[in-house]
């Protein structure tokens, strides 16, 4: 009998010494009986053995070996166990629906063992044999709490309604959980957005972000000041320390240099916010697009008159300024097979259908015909003048008229040339479509736009540079794409097609973008 050389096995192994050592001796032998290796079994995930052998720590594919010795796991009774923690807004409806859909697609039945609304376990079992396959423990709190659990080594998947911060990522890296800023450590499950709501009977239909900040700071206290009745304004907000509340405080309050008023009533969930607001015509609340209940969403208006309503499409394109990607982080360690299959499932069309079904926004790429963009072109004509000439608009229309815009749009972090989280996911999304040949025989135009700050010619140069950078990133990600089958071009129109007013930072951020058009 030959013994395996360490070098051969090194190619198979992964590092990640987090599971407790079982400390029992096993011998793994190849199916043909020609090679074997002995050692202490560290863990078994239903698929791979991790073994502390004389060659060091090895990970071996369980399908290729037989196990002998007192430490061998019972392959028949193995049940994968993993935990999902973090943001309650994602964990109460969205993830359970996805787990149920995943089970159904995999020929499994689910049983939910419930302690309360935030703590429950899904048991997945094969419909045919009744054998348990996986136990998924849900412990819901908020994004902060979920990340803290991961840093304590107690979580396999973290639900987050905001991106991980630099300091959290640093701690995670030091603790051996890997680089959480890398694409492999996070994925977008669905999209959502922050929306202001009022009661159906409140006559107000839209509000500027500036006034929203003033209202929540307690500087505007009467509806009269924003075109409503002469009545006091009551404020309702999401729970403290949730990712969504933090997003509101950063992107709306802090960017207007204001702090939340003491009179803001915090609720335990978005459901409580909207139920309180729906019952009181003088209340205003902050909630998420996926939970508006019986209240009425307000459109966001810029000072130059352009308004945005949170719609599925506006959240997909990030044309709505307060879109929020719903993230799922995984620490760098081998997850059980069932967990990895679940993560794969999250990218499938079936998962996107489930996301849509429960009122969240999916990531399916759809086309927007030019006939559905009348308002944008009206804005462009209204904003044209000294810097953007009629000829510029005509040239833009000539280019775009034979094409359709895709919902995939690329935007940049504030004050930086790096893509934001949703756009980074869009790079992967678009590259997969290219690899699948969806656009074969067509031309994909990466069309850069800028804000209106500075001279128009400079803006056109910047927007061209951004379009090229995004195209390069997509090409790099689409490794198996056949370049001869689809033409990838870049165009740039600078400030010619503004989406929002340029007099605020958020407006400029909405305007700085690379759109993708197909023809």
């Amino acid at each position: 009998m030959k013994t395996l050389r360490a070098a051969v096995l090194a190619a198979l192994f992964t590092i990640g010494m987090l599971a407790p050592a079982l400390g029992q001796d096993v011998t793994l032998t190849s199916r043909d009986g020609t090679v074997s290796v002995s050692g202490t079994l560290l863990s078994f995930d239903g698929e791979f053995f991790r073994l502390d052998s004389t060659y060091g720590v090895l990970t071996l594919d369980g399908t290729g070996v037989t196990c002998a010795g007192i430490g061998c796991p019972n392959l028949e009774s193995y049940v994968a166990e993993f935990s999902i923690v973090g943001a309650r807004s994602m964990g109460v409806v969205l993830l359970p629906t996805l787990v149920e859909m995943f089970a159904e697609q995999s020929g499994m039945r689910v049983k939910q063992i419930v302690q309360d609304d935030a703590n429950y376990t899904y048991v997945l079992r094969l419909a045919e044999t009744g054998k348990d396959v996986a136990r998924i423990a849900f412990r819901l709190s908020n994004t902060d709490g979920g990340i803290a659990e991961m840093l304590n080594g107690e979580a396999d998947m973290v639900l987050a309604t905001r991106e991980i911060t630099a300091s959290e990522a640093k701690t995670a890296y030091k603790s051996g959980f890997g680089d959480m800023k890398r694409a492999a450590r996070s994925r977008i499950v669905g999209l959502d957005g922050l929306v202001p709501v009022v009661a159906q009977s409140n006559p107000v239909e839209m509000i500027s972000l500036e006034n929203l900040a003033r209202i929540f700071a307690g500087d505007i206290t009467n509806w009269q000041d924003i075109g409503g009745p002469d009545a006091p304004i009551f404020l309702h907000h999401l729970p403290v320390d949730t990712g969504l509340a933090q997003r509101f405080e950063t992107n709306v309050m802090r960017s207007e240099n204001r702090n939340l008023a003491a009179s803001v009533k915090r609720h335990a969930t978005a459901v409580e916010v909207v139920d309180a607001v729906a019952r009181d015509p003088f209340s205003i609340g902050i909630t998420r697009f996926s939970e508006v209940g019986n209240a009425k969403m307000l459109a966001l208006r810029g000072s130059c008159g352009m308004a945005f309503m949170a719609t599925r499409r506006a959240l997909k394109t990030e044309d709505y300024p307060l879109a929020t990607p719903l993230l799922l982080y995984t620490p760098a360690r081998r997850l059980p097979k069932a967990a990895r299959e679940f993560l794969m499932f999250l990218r499938s069309p079936a998962a996107q259908r489930a996301v849509r079904h429960v009122g969240f926004v999916d990531q399916e790429v759809t086309k927007i015909g030019i006939e559905d963009q009348g308002k944008r072109f009206a804005n462009a004509i209204a904003a044209a003048g000294d810097e953007v000439k009629l000829a510029d608009l005509q040239s833009m229309i000539d280019t775009l008229r034979p094409a359709s815009r895709l919902t995939v749009t690329f935007r940049f972090n504030a004050g930086s040339s790096s893509l934001d989280a949703q756009s980074r996911a869009n790079v992967v999304l678009l590259s997969r479509l290219l690899e699948a040949g969806i656009f074969d025989g067509r031309e994909l135009m990466f069309v850069g736009f800028s804000d209106g700050d500075g001279p128009a010619t400079g803006n056109r140069t910047i927007s061209k540079r951004r379009a090229k950078a995004v195209r390069a990133a997509v090409k790099l990600a689409a490794t198996t794409m056949k370049p001869e089958r689809v033409k990838l071009s870049t165009k740039a129109f600078g400030e010619a097609l503004p989406m929002a007013c340029d007099d605020t930072e958020w407006g400029r951020q909405v305007n700085r973008r690379v759109e993708v058009w197909v023809k």
Binding site: T97, R279, H357
Partner: protein, 324 residues
């Protein structure tokens, strides 16, 4: 979430009922709601039985009777020249001389409800298990072996079957295409778990109009007039293995106003359920629009919380009613 007494006004009225077996009380509520359309329905815990017509059809000599107690004795005493049929096993007749054939009829009634009628003359006072898709509950036959019950249809091609104590099974089906006008969710359980669905319709609060639950169940008639949804309680007998179901129906095809109906499930912590696990199932609309079933195990709080309610807001997804 564990809460103390939940409902501002309703709870004081019904707390006693809740602790002493509310299923029987719901039998009353159910029967009285159908009383106007269905004069034969019996307001008892036992399933309503159609008496007069059946008997006169089958045994011409019988007069209509309102009360079935001691039926055989009274039949003997009131009929001159009556000789009770000789019952031998090979004749396959009931004690009343009725053929032992078991029949099941499913008839559509208003509001996408189905009237299910079992006639099993040789199975009197027996428990039967009634199935409709994944819905399942226990009923008991009357003294002439009948069961009649109103069931909310869960799909257009509605099939029903009834399993008798001896394991024999009868089936019936009916087309109820109106089902698409209604949203339906259900919870079902075995034994004395005391689960109940609470629906808060279009912004209603607990204890207000629009708070629909077993103690304020509302009616099919109100739903037909687009005034809101209703609760149907199925399973009319209490013994440890008896199966119960509660269904909430919202007439989304009738109500023109868009909005959200909040759904929660409550389980009372009782001496029987505290620190135990309750097995239950939830039935609700899946991604494909069909009703799907999921198994639930509720870990009940400890026995020092008897009298409190375990309130679960996420077992049933809220109904989102789109503008038609």
């Amino acid at each position: 979430m564990l809460i103390k007494k939940s409902y501002k006004t309703a709870i004081s009225t019904f707390a006693i009922v809740l602790t002493t077996g509310f299923v029987m009380q719901n039998g009353d509520a159910l029967a009285s709601r159908f009383a106007s359309d269905e004069p034969q329905a019996q307001p008892t815990g036992i399933a309503p039985v159609k008496t007069a017509e059946n008997l006169t059809q089958t045994v011409q000599t019988l007069a209509p009777l309102a009360d079935q107690s001691g039926l055989a004795d009274r039949v003997n005493s009131t009929e001159e020249n009556y000789s009770a049929p000789k019952i031998t096993s090979d004749q396959n007749l009931s004690a009343l001389g009725l053929a032992c054939d078991v029949t099941l009829d499913a008839t559509k009634s208003v509001g996408a409800m189905v009237t299910l009628e079992l006639k099993a003359p040789c199975h009197v006072n027996e428990t039967v298990t009634i199935n409709h898709q994944d819905l399942r509950f226990t009923s008991v036959t009357s003294e002439i072996g009948h069961v009649k019950v109103q069931i909310p249809a869960l799909m257009a091609a509605a099939s029903f079957d009834v399993t008798l104590v001896d394991g024999s099974k009868v089936s019936a089906s009916v087309d109820v295409h109106e089902v698409s006008n209604y949203d339906r969710v259900a919870v079902q359980w075995t034994g004395d778990s005391g689960l109940s669905i609470h629906a808060l319709e279009l912004g209603a609060d607990f204890g207000e109009r629009g708070h629909v639950w077993a103690k304020s169940p509302q009616t099919v008639a109100a739903a037909l007039q687009a005034r809101g949804g209703y609760i149907t309680v199925l399973g009319d007998i209490d013994f440890p293995g008896a199966k119960h179901a509660e269904i909430y129906t919202y007439p989304s095809g009738q109500v023109q106003k868009p909005g959200v109906v909040r759904l929660s499930v409550e389980a009372e912590v009782t001496a029987q359920t505290c620190s135990k696990e309750i097995q239950a199932q939830a039935l609700q609309s899946g991604v494909d629009g069909e009703i799907s079933v999921s198994d639930l195990v509720l870990s009940m709080p400890t026995c020092d919380t008897i009298g409190d309610f375990l309130v679960l807001n996420n077992l049933l997804r809220d109904l989102k009613i789109a503008q038609n």
